[in-house]
Homo-oligomer: 464 residues x 2
């Protein structure tokens, strides 16, 4: 560890942590826990942009990898320092710098938690629409790095659609600003959008100007249950095709529902469900009625809609679903928390395909997620410690990704590539597409300093 | 010209034009006509992606510049072949390839005119929301290259926000696909968004999958007149701040109105005006009423709202305004068709600043444009042939750009950088920001084959 001494030339020594506890805590994220040993040589907690610049610059000079680390909630190993070096923990840069309600903008440091953005602007009647379900436990920096999506994405788009400007430290330590505080610009390359979703491999975000929106005057939430999963998935497709103006439309299959009941103590019916939310400034009942008529055409068994606070419990449950399905049965181990997205016309067939795989192989695969985006979260669960079952589980898991790619979809809707999806990059983007991305990476980070081992399939073995 | 013979090894000879007429026709765009002589050595009309790939590849090998050319309606010299070589005219690649209404997608070749997209999907009840005012005379390829915006951008975003997938030929002739047909993805770098707005300097778009939307059930258009320009600009700001749900909100100042009257034979009042359009599936009168109350707080003199077709004339006039202000007085010459955008809080002051410059110097500067985006189109008009007046005019024109940058805005809201705005790149993005863009350019186009002389301030003298 003593070879990390140069870091204290770059930043105040109190910001450099070399102890085992800190280093171990940065060796994993939610995806890799217990599977990958990637303890960094040092953890640095910068508190200013200059700190970030200084650390990245000295590491770049010395060939020491720097892996930005946010809240550690990544699901593809995105922030795991597989080449060791420095884990750059951004959570101390957590200031809300400025709120400009009349411009619908807020400037934040990357370590600000998503929910803190909403708290900072609630008094102005504003909110940050694309927050992921993990909004209260994940940071803006992590969301930018993965171009996160959430339940509101079906109406409002992804995190990347709500960023006006980014301050970024590049691999050589240069500090740059990309984007504009003007709502629209055609000035030069869209570098801001290149940084979004690049998982810390092209630069470290040190400040973000986010765009906000007025909290809708009318919010209604509700739950529809269906007799069959086919009906539920068909109803979602039909709602999207008919442009029912939903702000959230989430599928929860019967397997996921029963796991939620056992883990969270809820009393969901043992049936496929669709959770919906409607946002409007007037006429919200019209949209609720429109949804009802669409759902009725798919033999909806029940459809209950209430006011905002009545639905709160529903969304709280939905947010905890990811953890519930991983943890409900301690004797079952998840293969990987998968996330694919397909064109909406392919959504019902893709859900059916997954359930057929599940039945055929007798393996539970709960499905849920942002149905309106054609986005499916699924978890292949196998007996803990059964290597043969794990091998088969991985095969099933990968079959789903391959199916998504076959029908024109993507291997990752909102979790990024990280370690876990690297093997699908060539299949999704073609050799030429991956090569173009690699060209950009090599140009902006010629020494491979920033988050090495991620995104690209040729960048070392898969440690997962 | 005989040195262009190698082109017929790459594509069928009938697609290569060496005659003066064709070459002269590709020497300019709307911005440079009469100001720049940049006749290409050859014009090539590819009809397939392979044609584009072959031409770009042989040119790249031989160091011959290739400048993609669409409809020639650019306002910053974006497609003018200042280094000669090949003008790659994409207008023969004008097929609508596929329409998938249930996925809200259309696949088109780049030479398809914007209005043709709407015609192709109207029968399915769909439209392409971000079309620029020039939609009937400009192509999708040109719009993608400039990340064009339009009147609908205030509600729907820019062209770049409505692209799911692009097929692109890179500088070495490689054919790649960027983006996804899934509505959302976090798979690898957002190369699609890097290509958008790169003005043909990073690749040539050969196919685009555009996202569509249902035509709203209720459309209302109207016109508000105000006693003062301050009132009009303040009313726009207040409407945006209050989130009145407008689909278009356009400012037309009294100077522009009177020029429209003289050139187009219209009978607009000689007063500052705001044109508005409302889109909704229900409750549109609520939004109209909301707008009325906001406008009344700014002493609106009149506010007339009619059904869709009544407003058609208004929008037709608005679309022709750009030409009208350039041409109304034949003894006046425009300095440059400028386009800036500022944060909406700065919009009223920026409009006032321009009018003060105009009055102070006795120079007409009509202002109009997409007010809700903080986007101002302005034209400094000087006596034709008066060099001293032209020098002063250029100064005024540049003062406006500098003002926009000072208040956090951009030097170009929707026209791109091209030749005309290169000098402001450093000021807007900083030396580091421009250098990062240049790094990307040099990596993806190491020989500088694609549209050389554009975007970057260091790339040769300004021929404008």
């Amino acid at each position: 560890m003593s070879e990390m001494g140069f870091l204290t030339d770059a930043v105040d020594g109190s910001k450099v942590k070399l102890g085992d506890g800190e280093r171990d805590r940065h060796a994993n994220d939610w995806a890799t826990e217990g599977r990958v040993e990637a303890t960094p040589d040092a953890v640095v907690y910068p508190t200013t942009t200059e700190d970030v610049s200084n650390v990245v610059a000295v590491c770049d000079e010395r060939g020491v990898p720097v892996t930005p680390y946010a809240a550690g909630t990544g699901l593809e190993g995105n922030a795991v320092p597989v080449r060791r070096g420095v884990s750059l923990d951004m959570t101390e840069m957590d200031a809300v710098l400025d709120v400009r309600p009349d411009d619908f903008q807020i400037d934040v440091e990357p370590g600000v938690y998503g929910s803190a953005v909403n708290e900072a602007v609630e008094g102005d009647g504003l909110f940050f629409p694309p927050l992921p379900s993990s909004g209260s436990i994940s940071t803006i920096g992590g969301m930018v790095a993965n171009d996160a999506g959430g339940m509101g994405t079906v109406r409002y788009g992804k995190v990347g659609d709500w960023i006006d400007e980014l301050e970024v430290v590049l691999a050589d330590g240069r500090i740059v600003e990309f984007g504009s505080k003007a709502k629209k610009t055609s000035s030069g390359y869209r570098m801001r959008d290149l940084i979004v979703g690049s998982e810390g491999t092209l630069g470290v975000v040190t400040r973000a100007t986010l765009r906000l929106k007025g909290i809708p005057e009318q919010i209604r939430g509700g739950r529809a249950t269906f007799d069959s999963l086919d009906d539920a998935a068909g109803a979602v497709f039909d709602a999207v095709r008919s442009e029912v103006d939903v702000a959230k439309i989430e599928l929860v299959d019967a397997t996921a529902a029963s796991m939620a009941n056992s883990y969270l103590g809820t009393d969901l019916p043992d049936a496929p469900m669709v959770f919906v939310e409607f946002h409007a400034n007037h006429g919200v009942e019209r949209e609720v009625g429109f949804a009802r008529s669409v759902f009725e055409a798919h033999d909806v068994a029940s459809f209950e809609v209430g006011a905002d606070d009545e639905a709160d419990e529903l969304w709280e449950l939905r947010r905890e679903l990811g953890v519930a399905v991983r943890s409900a049965n301690p004797s079952l181990e998840p293969v990987h928390a998968g996330d694919i997205a397909v064109p909406i016309t392919e959504y019902p067939d893709t859900v059916r395909y997954i359930k057929e795989l599940s039945e055929e192989h007798g393996v539970p695969i709960p499905c849920f997620g942002h149905a309106g985006d054609g986005n499916i979260h699924y978890l292949v669960l196998v007996e803990e410690g059964d290597d043969e079952a794990m091998r088969e589980g991985v095969e099933l898991y990968e079959k789903v990704v391959e199916h998504a790619l076959e029908v024109g979809g993507t291997c990752t809707g909102e979790h990024g590539i990280g370690l876990g999806k690297r093997k699908f990059m060539g299949r999704e983007h073609g050799e030429g597409g991956v090569r173009a991305m690699r060209t950009v990476k090599d140009a902006l980070d010629p020494n491979g300093t920033l988050n090495p081992g991620k995104v690209f399939p040729d960048d070392g073995e898969d440690p997962l």
